[in-house]
């Protein structure tokens, strides 16, 4: 199961500037593990020490917020686009 993950500007220091990366995983949890294996440290910016999604970062599979689906257990179909959208406050 290969999915593409859109990386926001703020996390591109982990992906050497890449804005979109391909990783494997059948659920969001597997996708984040696979992402962290390629780009160490990035998972910790999305998931907290208790293993829960951080409250100021939203993760979308397609156009749906996983908080309203199965959270980290949300299925990620082959070819799914996953977006990580962190809160920013600039104006």
């Amino acid at each position: 199961m290969s999915v593409s993950v859109r990386v926001p500007t703020i996390l591109r220091t982990y992906t050497k500037g890449e804005s979109e990366v391909s990783v494997d995983g059948a659920t969001l949890s597997e996708v984040l593990d696979s992402l962290d294996a390629s780009f160490p440290g990035i998972k910790g910016r999305i998931v907290d020490e208790q293993g829960e999604l951080r409250r100021f970062v939203n993760v979308y599979v397609g156009s749906e917020d996983v908080r309203f689906a199965e959270g980290l257990g949300t299925a990620t179909a082959d070819g799914a686009q996953i977006s990580v959208i962190p809160a920013v406050a600039g104006g």
Partner: protein, 400 residues
Amino acid sequence: MSPDVSLPPLVEPYPELTVDEVRRYSRHLIIPDVGMTGQKRLKNSKVLVIGAGGLGSPALLYLAAAGVGTLGIIDFDEVDESNLQRQIIHGQSDIGKSKAQSAKESIAEANPFVDVVVHDERLDNDNVMQIFADYDLIVDGTDNFATRYLVNDAAVLLGKPYVWGSIYRFDGQASVFWAEHGPCYRCLYPEPPPPGMVPSCAEGGVLGVLCASIGAVQVNEAIKLLTGIGEPLLGKLLVYDALELEYRKLSVRKDPNCAICGENPTVTELIDYETFCGAVSDEAAEAAVDSTISVRQLESWLDERDRGERDFVLVDVREPNEREINEIPGSLLIPKGEFLSGEALAQLPSDKSAVFYCKSGTRSAEVLAVVKGAGYADAVHVGGGVSAWVSQIDPKQPSY
């Protein structure tokens, strides 16, 4: 995907337009969806723009040009040279002037038919309800999380819709929040990031023209809400990536567990937003107590180091791009992230003390918490950072 929402116009039409106004707005009047009725609604509208900065600049100018009858501007800040790269409502001759006043003057030139109300003060718990009460719609262009949660909560408590926009470097986000008809900001982001985790534009930068991309979306949504046309961005999050030049719309659900607009709200009045969002983390604040030196102290410490009377390592914890602008002489660069990940600790000498600085003293306090936790008890940081150094010790260097 939630069904698209269509909302009635927010504002009733003003009785008439003058002949001058008809001439001015003719390109709106001949669009069937806007027409005379829509333009009269705009004339009767009262819109408050929070912040006459990056987003507020284009938003105010386009709202004024569009013929919004009353525009409120709230901003306590003054125009600084570093604002002019993006805050196009201000100009060179406005440096040092109140932003709200400067914006009012630009609007008078853009469209003299607009009534401008200047709120030359900081938006806070004491004035927000009274100020918001006078407006039909709010446009949020502030630059910090505390004010954004304040704006949201006041809007929810008053039942007001608002158009939200936010920017950082090349990324922009926008949405419409209106708890009576859809989600609020807390449904999207229940909690702010801990202090230090998400840099501000002052720390991380912002592409100037990104303000126009997102500010224009905010005005687009404001006009649609005021006149009741189109499908508002309610229940949707617009995400813009300027580098890929891509706009995406994601859905935002109303959260039944939302702290303020959910089924069992725990926030029923305004709260302490500075505490909720924090300027520095508790750990950083604690580390900085009795371990903060002034730039004057640092200057004499550096003199003593030159004379061989004192030994310490001075560490700049900013990013390389920032160091290209200015620096405190005799320092070495180790970005904050390398301390948070632990990899930089090995680079600190164990036989002499360390002095940390950043732009303003927030990031260096976080580093201080890390190194003190690792046993460097005598480490200190520089209050006010390189900004204070430039303003007090070395004004020949530029600040940012």
